[in-house]
């Protein structure tokens, strides 16, 4: 009997939860705010679905009832991707070590 591809995706999902568990516990508490903003940015990879939805219209019809939702989702996700990564970068740039020469 063949295995349903869903099972493979479920396996990836479960294993990723464990990877996430161990990786996040190793994050230093002082970087918990950047952690939230970067997880925010990467969860916007949902833009993948938004792009597929936006390009689903048939030839000549760019804005159909389903692709409109795709376009809206692209805007939302894009705000998050750019905003999330940039604000994380801005925060991380501020974390500095003590100057040795003092």
């Amino acid at each position: 009997m063949e295995i349903d591809p869903f099972i493979f995706r479920l396996s990836i999902f479960i294993l990723s939860i464990f990877v996430g568990y161990y990786v996040v516990w190793s994050v230093t508490p002082s970087l918990h705010t950047p952690l939230m903003s970067v997880t925010n940015a990467i969860s916007s990879v949902i833009i993948v679905g938004a792009i597929i939805a936006a390009l689903s219209g048939s030839d000549g019809v760019v804005f159909s009832s389903s692709s409109i939702y795709g376009f809206l989702a692209i805007i939302l996700a894009a705000v998050n991707i750019f905003g999330g990564f940039l604000v994380t970068q801005r925060m991380l740039a501020m974390y500095k070590k003590k100057k040795k020469d003092k």
């Binding site: 995706r9 990836i12 999902f13 990723s16 939860i17 990877v19 996430g20 990786v23 994050v27 230093t28 508490p29 002082s30 970087l31 918990h32 705010t33 950047p34 952690l35 939230m36 903003s37 970067v38 997880t39 925010n40 940015a41 990467i42 969860s43 916007s44 990879v45 949902i46 833009i47 993948v48 679905g49 938004a50 792009i51 597929i52 939805a53 936006a54 390009l55 689903s56 159909s64 939702y69 989702a73 805007i75 939302l76 894009a78 705000v79 998050n80 991707i81 750019f82 999330g84 990564f85 940039l86 604000v87 801005r90 991380l92 740039a93 500095k96 070590k97 003590k98 100057k99 003092k102």
Partner: protein, 464 residues
């Protein structure tokens, strides 16, 4: 692009996202980690364009919308003050949630674009995944909007509770399950819309009873939800990058919520089921007699600190409100010039989100190796000369260790009272969020400095 190749590239971007989080284990590697995250995102988006392979006029519009959203995001990211970070993160969560809802709606209307069947005849598994993604996304959206309004102060931070609230939430959740089952058997679009509407309502109802200082838990929880919503959509789209990311973000938010709850010694359900202020309190804080406090001015504080050899600073949400972090750093610089050892003690739930204080101190150019977590520094209070409490309250209350009747009993607190002297900057003697008196105010070695945190800090610097 072949389906296998794109699947492998999606996997690559998933791995890059894991490395992005891994980088955050130390500030040195964190910037590189962020870069990995960006590369992962670029790969995922590029692969999607190539595998859809539709470069007609629609593609141009996609790029335009992408640019509009992107520049808006970039603008916000550069302009936002660091003190507003909790609001920003809550706002961003709501966007992820809403995007998940929109993608689910689009997939429901036009399933053939996603290889999920035809309208009215969608594959059963996909329909369930879609419903879960949409419901969790909707809850994330409305919950985050409420959290945003509360943090921004547009909506009162006080818990809003009413009779039968929990019963109503439970009934609505059961209703969602029933609707999903019906949706699967009838494929009716009306049911799908009702499902989404009820989920919006639940998100709203879940967050309104939670009070302001419990926001660290709420934000982490919504972070987790946004991840599960993404994962749900990932299953619908059969996309590995989305599934991996969803799982990562979901567990990340869950761990942060756990850490925050532990920092308050409260169970997750206790936080979710309503704030401190709303529950009937039997502790007899009302019938306590007026106790004497010692209060001083900037001059007294400067004198105490000048004669100290080590000072520990305990910042809290009040420092963020007063924007006092820069003034604080200037004061510390002056102290250091006088050869006084200074370190910072951060309680896990100080501020309105995990790591809030650390970011503010980093913004004020405080080196991160002078900033310590509760467990690292708690033993040092006994050897320090002065503790300077600025904007923190409940997290320093010794009652948590001594009075089993107190609502915060058992909560880990900073042992500030063990210092030779304590300087407590506060506007008035009013109790903190937990609604209880802080015993620390009345200790003999405590000197209260009644003033705005920023102004007081500046005045002390002048007097040093």
């Amino acid at each position: 692009m072949s389906a296998n190749l794109s699947a492998i590239l999606y996997l690559v971007s998933g791995v890059l996202f894991i490395l992005a989080l891994r980088g955050l284990s130390s500030p040195e590697t964190s910037r590189q980690g962020n870069l990995f995250g960006i590369i992962g995102m670029v790969i995922a988006v590029t692969v999607t364009f190539l595998s859809v392979g539709n470069f007609s006029s629609g593609f141009i519009y996609v790029l335009i919308f992408l640019a509009v959203g992107g520049s808006l995001g970039a603008f916000i990211a550069y302009r936002i003050p660091m003190t507003a970070m909790p609001e920003l993160v809550a706002g961003f969560h709501s966007l992820v949630g809403l995007a998940a809802v929109f993608v689910a709606i689009s997939a429901f209307i036009n399933p053939s674009a996603f290889n999920l069947g035809t309208p009215g005849n969608i594959k059963l598994a996909s329909l369930i995944e879609m419903a879960i993604g949409a419901a969790v996304g909707a809850i994330t959206f409305s919950g985050s909007v409420i959290a945003f309004l509360k943090l921004q102060g547009i909506m009162s931070g006080a818990p809003i509770t009413f009779k039968g609230q929990h019963l109503l939430n439970a009934l609505l959740l059961i209703l969602i399950v029933i609707l999903t089952i019906y949706l699967c058997s009838t494929q009716s679009s009306n049911l799908f819309w009702i499902l989404i509407a009820i989920s919006f309502l639940i998100g709203f109802l879940i967050i309104i009873p939670i009070g302001g200082a419990d926001m660290p838990v709420v934000i982490s929880m919504l972070n987790s939800y946004s991840g599960w919503a993404a994962a749900g959509i990932g299953f619908t789209l059969e996309n590995t990058a989305l599934i991996i990311t969803g799982a990562l973000v979901g567990s990340s938010g869950a761990i942060l919520s756990y850490i925050m709850c532990k920092g308050m010694n409260r169970s997750f359900f206790n936080v979710i089921l309503g704030g401190f202020g709303a529950t009937d309190q039997t502790s007899g804080s009302q019938n306590k007699e007026q106790r004497p406090v010692k209060s001083g001015n900037a001059d007294d504080a400067a004198f105490l600190m000048k004669n100290a050899s080590s000072v520990i600073i305990v910042p809290g949400y009040g420092m963020a409100v007063a924007q006092a972090q820069h003034a604080l750093r200037e004061m510390v610089d002056t102290l250091k010039k006088n050869d006084i050892k200074v370190s910072y003690a951060i309680h896990p739930v100080a501020g309105r989100m995990p790591g809030h204080m650390n970011v503010l101190l980093a913004e004020a150019n405080v080196p991160y190796d002078e900033v310590f977590e509760l467990e690292e520094i708690n033993n040092d209070f006994a050897n320090a000369d002065v503790a300077f409490v600025i904007g923190a309250n409940d997290v320093t209350n010794p009652v948590a260790k001594t009075d089993p009747q107190s609502p915060i009993y058992g909560m880990p607190v900073l042992d500030v009272e063990k210092c030779k002297s304590v300087l407590f900057v506060k506007r008035s003697l009013s109790p903190g969020y937990a609604g209880i008196d802080n015993d620390l105010f009345y200790k003999e070695n405590t000197l209260m400095l009644f003033a705005d945190a920023k102004k007081m800090t500046e005045d002390i610097t002048k007097n040093l």
